[in-house]
Symmetry: C2
Subunit: 359 residues, 2 copies
């Protein structure tokens, strides 16, 4: 069953009559996105190395005073390469090599900004409850081997790289963090941001592995058409896109990141790892996609295969949606700032209204 059911999209396409399919897709995915034709060289690298390569385009309306601000976003999902009982260095090397090939296909596809999956240099070990040997995958976000490698790729391909790793903070008690490193297309580390909301859920009890982020929400300015990147649920800081790697289970997966894109007038790029490792019962696959501020989304990548999703977006869409829907004018932030400030007080009493007779 899992093998046959590769993606929701494919199942719908196979079974629904054309007219119904169009309407179902509009309801599920919003206004249709167009296909983006990718260079033959990239397509053949993907075929040869056995990963899915998909291209979509999310347009904005033409404006008189601004040119389109096109950015190609690459989202990579992948399985681990080596078995989890191999030496750490070997496992990491396998992933580094795999990613090198995918990044090359991304460069051939003219990707400007690429994002890998959460803690991409390691298996998803947090559900094992074992610390050893998994914490050995942690490395410095400033000069660890993975950052150095990404810097090389970024410079070679003129590509911004968002590289989420398990970070070892050598200067502060060797704390572990779940960190995304943002590397400029010049090869410079622009900065990093740390995961703020750490699941405390059954086997995903990640809060025993690493600390809650202490950097708040940051936005990173890159050279691509003033595109501004954040990582993990952000908001008021003028981001144009958010690269995420989340969440609990498949039915939620298609909702949360899309809702965030709509509510905040930016693009979101939810990325999830694929595959079944001996340490991970991955029975709840979620495939990567891109969500737009106007409610549109791309179809998801395969739920079972490695993949590179290339999406060309026009950043002008963000402001166009803001002007159209005006959420930034109706969000009542002062009210929420006040309510939240009250609600976090220890003696907070929720304003519950009772019936006179039951008071």
């Amino acid at each position: 069953m899992a093998a046959e059911f590769e993606s929701l999209n494919k199942t719908l396409e196979k079974n629904l009559p054309a007219e119904d399919l169009k309407e179902v897709k509009r309801i599920l995915y919003g206004n249709p996105v167009s296909d983006l034709s990718l260079p033959a060289a990239a397509v053949s690298v993907a075929a040869e190395l056995d990963f899915e390569l998909a291209g979509y385009k999310i347009d904005a309306a033409a404006e008189e005073l601004r040119q389109p601000r096109l950015v190609r976003i690459g989202a990579v999902q992948n399985k681990i390469v080596e078995p989890t009982n191999m030496p750490i260095a070997k496992q990491r090397e396998g992933l580094h090599n795999r990613m090198k090939d995918i990044v090359k296909a991304a460069a051939l596809s003219k990707v400007n900004v690429i994002c890998f999956q959460e803690c991409w240099t390691m298996p998803f070990a947090f559900c094992t409850r074992e610390k050893q040997p998994w914490t050995e995958f942690a490395e410095s976000a400033e000069d660890g081997p993975t950052v150095r490698l990404c810097q090389e790729w970024a410079k070679r391909y003129n590509m911004v790289i968002v590289s989420p790793i398990l970070e070892r903070d050598h200067t502060h008690q060797e704390i572990l963090w779940n960190t995304a490193v943002i590397i400029s297309n010049t090869g410079e580390v622009i900065g990093k941001t740390r995961k703020n909301h750490i699941p405390r859920v059954g086997d995903f009890n990640e809060s025993t592995y690493y600390m809650e982020g202490d950097m708040g929400h940051q936005v990173f300015q890159t050279q691509f058409d003033t595109g501004r990147i954040s990582w993990f649920l952000v908001s008021l800081q003028g981001s144009h896109y958010i690269l995420v790697a989340l969440h609990l289970c498949e039915p939620l997966w298609s909702i949360e990141a899309r809702n965030a894109a709509i509510a905040n007038s930016y693009f979101t790029v939810p990325i999830n790892r694929v595959g079944t490792a001996s340490i991970l019962e991955e029975n709840n696959p979620r495939s990567s996609y891109v969500a737009a501020p106007n409610g549109s989304r791309t179809p998801g990548l395969s739920r079972t295969r490695d993949g590179l999703l290339v999406t060309e977006v026009d950043l002008n869409l963000c402001r166009q949606v803001k002007d159209k829907w005006g959420f930034q004018m109706t969000s009542r932030l002062e009210m929420y700032a006040k309510s939240l400030s009250e609600a976090v007080q220890r003696n907070y009493e929720p304003p519950i209204v009772h019936e006179e007779t039951t008071k």
Copy 2:
């Protein structure tokens, strides 16, 4: 096309093979909800008076120390009854009579809490840009004719009623508000709450008709299993369910209220009006449903017919999901209280990180 495409659910059921259908539904709707069998008397009232009647059940696990806390929620969607060029009193009377019948079917279906659609006593006039005669539909939320009628029904049927109306605030400059009145099963008005986020969107420019709510977010305690009701996007105040009536367009409709249910561990009941009025090009139908804190949702009512959706929920599910996913422990409210308080300052400068070389 619109006539044929009655609902997403029916189209999927008609076309997909059984195994695929099961998987598609799981991805789209979460864990399946069960059907709730409704009394024959209610079914025949619905058939006779030509409205859809659908019943679902959203269970929780058994607990040792708490009994199930079952509440039947009724959600009503309906078209206007009289043409919009009829006298105001006549139009309102038509809707009052229609609702009387639907409420009767709800009582036969043992509904404990019922909610009508936004401004249910009038056509959706806000997209006309005309003030007259539409503002004449406004009435007092304390002793207007609609409140008095609802009080009667509530008492007669032992049912909590959430009655959203256009409110005329006679004691404060005759301001108009978009208000939900909460009426106890004893017939007492427990209180009211006012819509806080007013669309400023093209023809839905509702902010020219009525004021942004000034009551914050309230929660209303009723007699049904300590069920607590709110109206419109609420949060930290211990609600068990939220009754909403929103939003922009169909693809968003299925996302926002579900996301709210998941993020806040409560039930949401998004209700939308149906039909095409001469003053409203309703080309973007959204059908009412119930979303649960665990990501499940009921199928939607018809996109084109009047309907009563009866959903029996076990309120115990709210705390069970909190205990399982622990969002209330990982939400970092202090961080957001601080960030929001900073962000609403006029001189706020977003923390944008620049590349060294482009500073």
